[in-house]
């Protein structure tokens, strides 16, 4: 192992003992990290490992509870993103942070516009942003990106370029943070981004690069740090480490015995209730083929942004289908959510607060919502709510309590109870255990197992690989909108799933 601190290269950015809590969750615990001028430093970790929190601290969007940051030897305590930027630390955000109604030039200089007297110096904005774009992406590509064009009219790759140009437009950029910059880019855009990052490194800037895509990290980074559950678990030089080593550091935790599983066996003779052939949405997914039979739990693994949620939304009729064939139960092709529910398909959204439950309404209101009789009798609805409280062990003061008063895990039980009460045959579950405590997780896994035993079919999207391995019969991995083949769970390992999910799609036109 190389010495982490080389006396010849004093760190440009020092992070010492930084901690951050959100309520009871420790998002970061005492992180130490050095970034040197002229290096690309990768920060790795699974979803929820604390990478984005750390980047928000760097960029001034969050204040650490504890610990200190130093930039060029001087204390660095930005009050807000503007101060961080003035000091020389600029962030290219994971969620695209652009104003779609403004032009490219206006976005590049937003918050820091050059002026002549009372007026914006529109010409300076245009020429300087054109220069930045050229410097970033070369003559040919920059000439395609008109500084006076509205950002909404640009393809995703070019929008990304605008964000990077904005980071570079800071008065004197020293450290540029890239938070998952490639999750929405295609291979050609990724190659161009890397050229731009190498140019930044050659100019002596420090680049912090957060990514799930391990092969990309291998290609671009000089050093790496691995976070897991908010703590640093590994660091070193990229050249003297292996992707396998990173994966085991990222996944390191022991798989718990919380997956109740009755003896079910895959039965290829059972009815196919869901079949997709080369299914594609408008943007995502790009290509998904699979079959789902009664009595089966099919897991979809992949990274955030890979297109898994979009696949479920397309199946349930929330998003349009652009190409491909789909059959759900006896319905061919697309259908609206109302028709899907009527046919016996239910979906649980990953966005519990907005799409999973009506937070202000009672448990009874939520559970009965999709299957209300023509005449609603309050007593009957409350009895239904009471029944599900008992069946799923929902911990609630009463059936009339608003769902917002429950814990995350119990809210999720309410959301699932709505599907169970509707008695759907096909369940589309999107990250059902996100933000759910371990005890509730075990209950939810038990329900899924029971459903499969009773001949229901479950399509389970999850970013928690151990959960997929514990609950599913078969697993398929989605990467950049393309769904790989579904294989029995016995043929998968955690490492294999992570490797497939983080593989850079080189053959995009396969």
């Amino acid at each position: 192992m190389t010495a982490v601190r080389d006396p010849g290269a004093a760190p440009l950015l020092e992070i010492r003992g930084v901690s951050k809590r959100f309520g009871a969750t420790r998002a970061l615990s005492s992180i130490d990290l050095d970034v040197r001028a002229g290096e690309v430093h990768a920060v790795l970790g699974e979803n929820g490992a604390g990478k984005s929190t750390l980047m928000k601290v760097l960029g001034g969007a969050l204040k650490p509870d504890d610990g200190a940051l130093r930039l060029d030897g001087a204390p660095f305590t930005p009050r807000d993103p503007r101060q961080a930027r003035r000091a020389g630390v600029a962030v290219v955000h994971q969620e695209r942070a652009l104003c779609p109604h403004l032009t490219v030039a206006e976005n590049v200089f937003l918050g820091d516009e050059p002026t002549r007297g009372p007026w914006l110096d529109a010409r300076a904005m245009r020429t300087r942003s054109a220069a930045l774009l050229t410097q970033l992406a070369g003559e040919a590509r920059a000439s395609r990106t008109d500084p006076s064009a509205k950002v909404a009219s640009l393809p995703p790759g070019d929008q990304q370029l605008v964000e990077i140009a904005r980071a570079l437009a800071a008065p004197s950029p020293r450290v540029i943070v890239f938070d998952e910059p490639t999750s929405t880019l295609d291979a050609a855009d990724v190659a161009r981004l890397f050229e731009a990052i190498r140019a930044l490194r050659a100019r002596g800037l420090a680049v912090v690069y957060v990514s799930h895509f391990l092969e990309e990290v291998r290609a671009i980074a000089d050093r790496f740090t691995v976070l897991r559950d908010g703590a640093k678990v590994a660091e070193g030089e990229v050249a003297s480490s292996t992707i396998d080593g990173w994966v085991s550091a990222m996944a390191g935790r022991a798989i718990e015995a919380l997956y109740p599983r009755s003896a079910r066996a895959a039965d290829p003779s059972r009815e196919v209730v869901l079949e997709a052939r080369a299914l594609a949405g408008v943007r995502l997914p790009r290509d998904a083929s699979f079959t789902l039979r009664r009595g089966e739990v099919l897991g979809i693994a992949g990274l955030v942004g890979a297109g898994r949620t979009e696949l479920l939304r397309a199946i349930f009729g929330l998003d349009p289908i652009a190409r491909g064939a789909l059959r759900v139960l006896h319905v061919e092709g697309a259908a609206r959510p109302h028709a899907r529910l009527e046919a016996g398909v239910g979906m649980l959204s990953e966005d519990r607060a907005h799409e999973g439950v009506a937070l202000a309404r009672s448990i009874a209101d939520n559970v009965g919502l999709s299957r209300l009789p023509w005449i609603v009798r309050e007593g009957a609805q409350r009895a239904i709510g009471q029944r599900w409280i008992e069946r799923l062990g929902i911990r609630a003061p009463s059936v009339d309590a608003p769902v917002s008063a429950l814990s995350g895990g119990n809210q999720q039980k309410v959301a699932l109870a709505r599907l169970l009460h509707h008695d759907v045959d096909v369940l589309l579950l999107d990250e059902p255990t996100r933000g759910v405590d371990v005890a509730s997780k075990a209950t939810l896994y038990g329900v899924v197992d029971e459903l499969a035993t009773r001949g229901k079919a479950v399509l389970l999207v999850s970013s928690q690989v151990p959960e997929l391995l514990g609950v599913c019969d078969r697993i398929a991995v989605m990467a950049r909108g393309v769904l790989g083949p579904a294989r029995p769970v016995s043929e998968w390992t955690e490492e294999a799933i992570l490797a497939e999910a983080t593989a850079t799609a080189t053959a995009t036109a396969a």
Partner: protein
């Protein structure tokens, strides 16, 4: 068929112009205004096409235009202001009371504008700092200020000598025919041009668009979101104050029950002019066209002798239709 004989070179310029026109946010309202005016002028050629009628319509639109320019800023920033009608009524009362109290004319005018700015700033503070929805804040303000206007006027009209203020929007005397249109119309035009420049070419204007387009992004980029919002509502308040002075010049009295529902006409002008209630979109020029369009429709229906209940139904249908058509045009 004759198009085939035209060389491509001759076609180029009009085409490029047409394309630029089609992309402009105010293109739809402009076409609509021309068509609607042409329609009424064709039906009532002897009255509707006369220049005096056009001047009269411009005078009738001035109050709405000035208030709607302010509303454009508010709507582009992603907000709404329902208190406009009440503030205009309050403004007429303030001017009338001040004049009756013997204050000089400029003081009376500035008092109305100052009250209006104060109201706007308070709305802005409640919205930006207390994080109350603009709809709720200004709905409350609408009622509070209507009450304040009635209280200040002791629930009566305040008759007063307008001391020349009435000439702002009255037909021009012979001696000043060179002005073409009354000074109030020029004032509205000047305010519109200034506001268009502010929205398009100043840092403040671009920040207003940025906030309406994506508030989190604006915050992330260091835009002072709260201060900008307060400034937007205060500025819109100033313009409503000017509108109330113009309204006083038409009424030549203070009327606490005046301009009920004016805010809806003003909002309609902005929306017809291409403004989006979701924020980020809207142009001052489009708003002016939207306001003119509604005046032409109202005035045209009167000239055709339509009953007022028919007029109201037609106006409502045209607002919805105009916005729907514009949506189709943009998606195409």
């Amino acid at each position: 068929m004759s198009a085939q004989t035209t060389t491509p070179k001759q076609l180029d310029l009009p085409r490029a112009f047409a394309r630029a026109l089609a992309r402009a946010p105010w293109a739809g309202p402009l076409v609509a205004l021309v068509l609607v005016y042409g329609f009424y002028a064709a039906l009532a050629p002897d009255t509707f096409a006369r220049p005096e009628i056009v001047v009269t319509m411009l005078c009738q639109t001035a109050v709405v235009v000035v208030a709607a320019v302010g509303m454009t800023l508010v709507i582009v920033s992603g907000g709404i202001d329902l208190s406009v009608g009440s503030v205009v009524a309050l403004g007429t009362v303030v001017v009338a009371k001040a004049l009756r109290g013997g204050l000089p004319l400029p003081v009376a005018v500035l008092a109305a504008i100052a009250v209006s700015i104060g109201v706007g700033a308070l709305n802005g503070v409640a919205i930006a700092r207390l994080k109350i929805m603009p709809f709720i804040v200004t709905l409350g303000a609408m009622s509070v200020l209507r009450g304040a206007a009635k209280g200040l006027a002791h629930e009566e009209m305040i008759y007063v000598d307008a001391r020349g203020l009435e000439s702002l929007l009255a037909a021009l005397p012979k001696a000043r025919a060179w002005m073409l249109v009354p000074p109030g119309v020029w004032l509205a035009l000047g305010i519109s041009v200034a506001a268009a420049l502010v929205l398009r070419s100043t840092r403040f204007g671009r920040h207003v668009v940025a906030i309406g387009s994506s508030e989190p992004t604006a915050r992330l980029c260091g835009v002072r979101v709260d201060a900008t919002k307060i400034a937007v509502y205060a500025l819109a308040g100033a313009l409503v104050g000017v509108a109330s002075v113009l309204e006083f010049s038409r009424l030549t009295l203070g009327d606490p029950t005046d301009s009920v529902g004016l805010e809806l006409t003003v909002i309609a002008a902005v929306v017809i002019g291409g403004g989006s209630l979701a924020g980020g979109e809207g142009s001052v020029f489009g708003t002016v066209l939207g306001a003119l369009l509604m005046t032409v429709i109202r005035s045209g229906n009167t000239h055709l002798g339509l009953r007022s209940w028919v007029q109201e139904m037609i106006t409502g249908a045209i607002i919805v239709l105009a916005v729907a058509l514009d949506g189709f045009r943009r998606r195409a």
